[in-house]
């Protein structure tokens, strides 16, 4: 039987159990909608909508942060990258994890202490409000949309595997369903509802991953060396599969791409708006620190398990089958579940359905978190502080946020179909690169550099944003490559898939240059205020 036929069989089998799969999806959707409506009733003012009332415990928020962070990229993308490229897929998880130290040591606590609802609160603290808030809002929305694109790609992939839907209309239908659900979660439940959805999802994801990890290890008698050996052998690539270089080692350019990706991963997390706003949901900076610690533990444990998933898939499934199912390996984890249960057995179908439902929950929850970040930033930074010049009431802000949610939902449904065949981990890495280039320099300069000025902030945000997005546009991700979004045209003059190695230093450089060239004096009194607040928590919201 050819791999393509096997996949077809898997899809057919899944179709036989379609009622089961659909009921699992439906249970999750109904449960989360109930939570959302309940949370919506508790949402009375802007602090509830934006920050969940700031009353979540450190553990709850740690779980929710993990839920926001462990996206389809982590689950489907990393497992797939390891299944196809072996060791090189591991880099993603290492970078994604180490990155949390930047957030822990430099950003989480000062942000919680000095901001209110958005990343823009901190960036604009001692600057001219309107231009800096406009910039912060713009980059928040751009980063979130990149990230959304990846999640939507994951949703499309899952559904074609699961329900055997290959027609464009069917896929668009599913993307639309995801979009509508996220609009409902966010506009009704606000941060409270979204946080609870993240917690439920995190528990489900950890549970599902634990189960598959256990089953993989059981097959190899808990001998990791055997697992790696079988993966290497079955992949047909031998020991090279366990060494760095399969995906990135081919040429000097691809090696540089690897370094670029590595830098983007480690510096991106602390600039992701949907992660940053989570720190406002706890009462104090100390609780923010503790929630990061919980997140590091949960996320670290999860990434260690993705090793078992990825190498397990490589050991138990042929490379041809993985690729036939999805060229970038995004379906390796659900396929693994099917194989662990037995391709022809009901147990296999049940496992496949369970893992797919977990992946679906993952996507829905992350998409909701991203939408909340962008609509909060639109309502609080752009509508309330730029358009209404700080005169909007909390009620008006929340209403604007709800409308923004609907708008962003529609935009991301529209974009969702474009990125189907890209590896979702690769797409998310782009969001990290943009966040690290446009947001992180300004966050760090704002918090720690007394001389930093409005001009420096603007040059840094726009400079980093334009260069990062521009280089992606002219990279092999968008054109000139069989796996690109537009494979039939070639305007890719920039050879690297990840722009980080250029755009991140550029963002830092522009912040410095804009500052030393600016004619206005830095507001040192306001900086004293920001620094005292950020380190002591005086007057924290």
């Amino acid at each position: 039987m050819s791999p393509a036929q096997q996949t077809l069989l898997a899809a057919n089998q899944a179709s036989e159990h379609r009622p089961l799969i659909i009921s699992l999806f439906a249970v999750f959707v109904v449960a989360t909608l109930v939570i959302t409506v309940w949370a919506g009733r508790q949402t009375k003012d802007a602090a509830d909508f934006y920050a969940g009332g700031r009353q979540f415990s450190a553990f709850q928020n740690g779980l929710a942060v993990s839920g926001d962070y462990m996206s389809a990229a982590s689950f489907l993308g990393i497992a797939g990258a390891i299944a196809l490229f072996g060791y090189d897929g591991f880099l993603y998880s290492i970078g994604f994890l180490v990155a949390w130290l930047v957030a822990l040591l430099l950003v989480a606590e000062p942000l919680r202490n000095s901001g209110r609802y958005t990343m823009g609160d901190v960036l604009a603290y001692r600057m001219r409000q309107r231009p800096v808030r406009t910039a912060a809002g713009t980059s928040t929305i751009v980063v979130s949309i990149f990230y959304l694109l990846a999640q939507m790609a994951g949703a499309g992939v899952l559904v074609s595997l699961l329900l055997g839907i290959t027609s464009d209309a069917g896929k668009i239908g599913i993307v639309a369903l995801v979009g509508i659900l996220m609009i409902v979660y966010v506009s009704i439940g606000g941060m409270k509802g979204t946080t609870w959805v993240q917690m439920v999802k995190a528990v489900l994801l950890i549970g599902g991953t634990l189960l598959i990890t256990f089953l993989v290890l059981l097959k190899f008698n808990f001998n990791i060396s055997d697992l790696l050996g079988s993966a290497a052998e079955n992949s047909g690539k031998g020991t090279a599969f366990l060494e760095p270089g399969l995906q990135y080692g081919a040429t000097g350019t691809s090696k540089l791409d690897f370094v670029s990706l590595g830098i983007a991963l480690v510096l991106g997390t602390a600039g992701l708006p949907h992660i940053l706003i989570r720190f406002y949901t706890v009462p104090t900076a100390k609780a923010a620190r503790k929630s990061v610690n919980w997140a590091i533990g949960i996320i670290g444990g999860f990434y260690l398990m993705t090793l078992a998933l990825g190498f397990g898939a490589a050991a138990l499934i042929s490379q041809e089958e993985i690729i036939a199912s999805n060229p970038s390996g995004n379906t390796a984890a659900p396929l693994l579940a099917l194989h662990l249960g037995g391709v022809d057995s009901a147990w296999g179908a049940i496992l496949l359905a369970t893992i797919s439902a977990v992946a679906f929950a993952t996507i829905l929850a992350v998409v909701a978190g991203l939408t909340l970040a962008s609509s909060s930033s639109f309502a609080h930074d752009i509508y309330a502080n730029v358009i209404r010049k700080g005169q909007a009431t909390g009620e008006e802000e929340v209403r604007a946020a709800r409308w923004a949610t609907v708008f962003i939902g529609i935009v991301s449904i529209g974009l969702g179909a474009l990125a189907r065949d890209l590896n979702v981990a690769g797409l998310v890495a782009l969001a990290f690169a943009v966040a690290a280039s446009a947001n992180l320099p300004t966050i760090l300069y704002s918090l720690f550099w007394k001389r930093f000025t409005t001009q420096g902030a603007l040059w840094s945000i726009y400079g980093g944003l334009i260069v990062a997005v521009g280089l992606v546009l002219f990279s092999p991700v968008v054109s000139g490559d069989p796996k690109a979004m537009f494979p039939d045209v070639d305007f890719a003059w920039f050879p690297l898939k990840n722009p980080g190695i250029i755009s991140i230093p550029f963002g830092f450089f522009m912040g410095w240059l804009g500052t030393i060239l600016s004619k206005e004096e830095p507001d040192t009194k306001k900086y004293a205020e920001l620094e005292v607040r950020s380190l002591t928590g005086t007057g924290a919201h």
Binding site: D45, A47, G53, R54, Q55, F56, S57, Q60, Y87, L91, I94, G95, L97, V98, W100, L101, V102, L104, L105, L106, E109, I224, S225, D226, L228, G229, A232, T239, L242, E243, P244, G245, Y248, K255, F258, V259, G262, I263, V266, P283, K286, R289, N293, I296, G297, G300, Y303, L304, K525, K526, A528, E529, E531, V532, R533, L535, T536, T538, G539, A540
Partner: protein, 118 residues
């Protein structure tokens, strides 16, 4: 989560004046808190980023070394990767210990004085 209790954040006291902040900013006590934070967090950040970049660069340009088998199918690259996990956990724990022992008491003292005395 007790959702019935009104969140304390709503009852936040008025912010001390900018002048009060400037005064505290120049005090020796705040200087010490700031030094204690920066002299811990900044070098540690440089160190873990360097350690991570070392890993990335070795993976890229020292394939032979990273491929050296240590036991069974476990090679240097694998151990190096796991070591990054371990150091991340350790650094998170170490920073939190430092913050709880050295930073929190100082920050708390300044905060309560500023909010109480305002």
């Amino acid at each position: 989560m007790a959702t019935d209790a009104p969140p304390p954040s709503k009852a936040s006291s008025t912010l001390p004046s900018t002048e009060a902040f400037v005064e505290v900013h120049e005090s020796a006590e705040f200087g010490e808190l700031r030094r204690s934070y920066r002299s811990f967090a900044f070098p540690l950040t440089v160190a873990f980023i360097a350690w991570y970049l070392l890993y990335v660069l070795l993976s890229n340009y020292a394939g032979g070394f990273m491929g050296t088998k240590l036991f069974g199918n476990i090679n240097v690259a694998f151990v190096f990767g796991i070591a990054q996990f371990v150091t991340t956990f350790l650094i998170a724990w170490w920073y939190s210990r430092h913050a709880a022992a050295k930073l929190d008491p100082k920050a708390e003292a300044i905060k309560s004085r500023m909010e109480g005395g305002a």
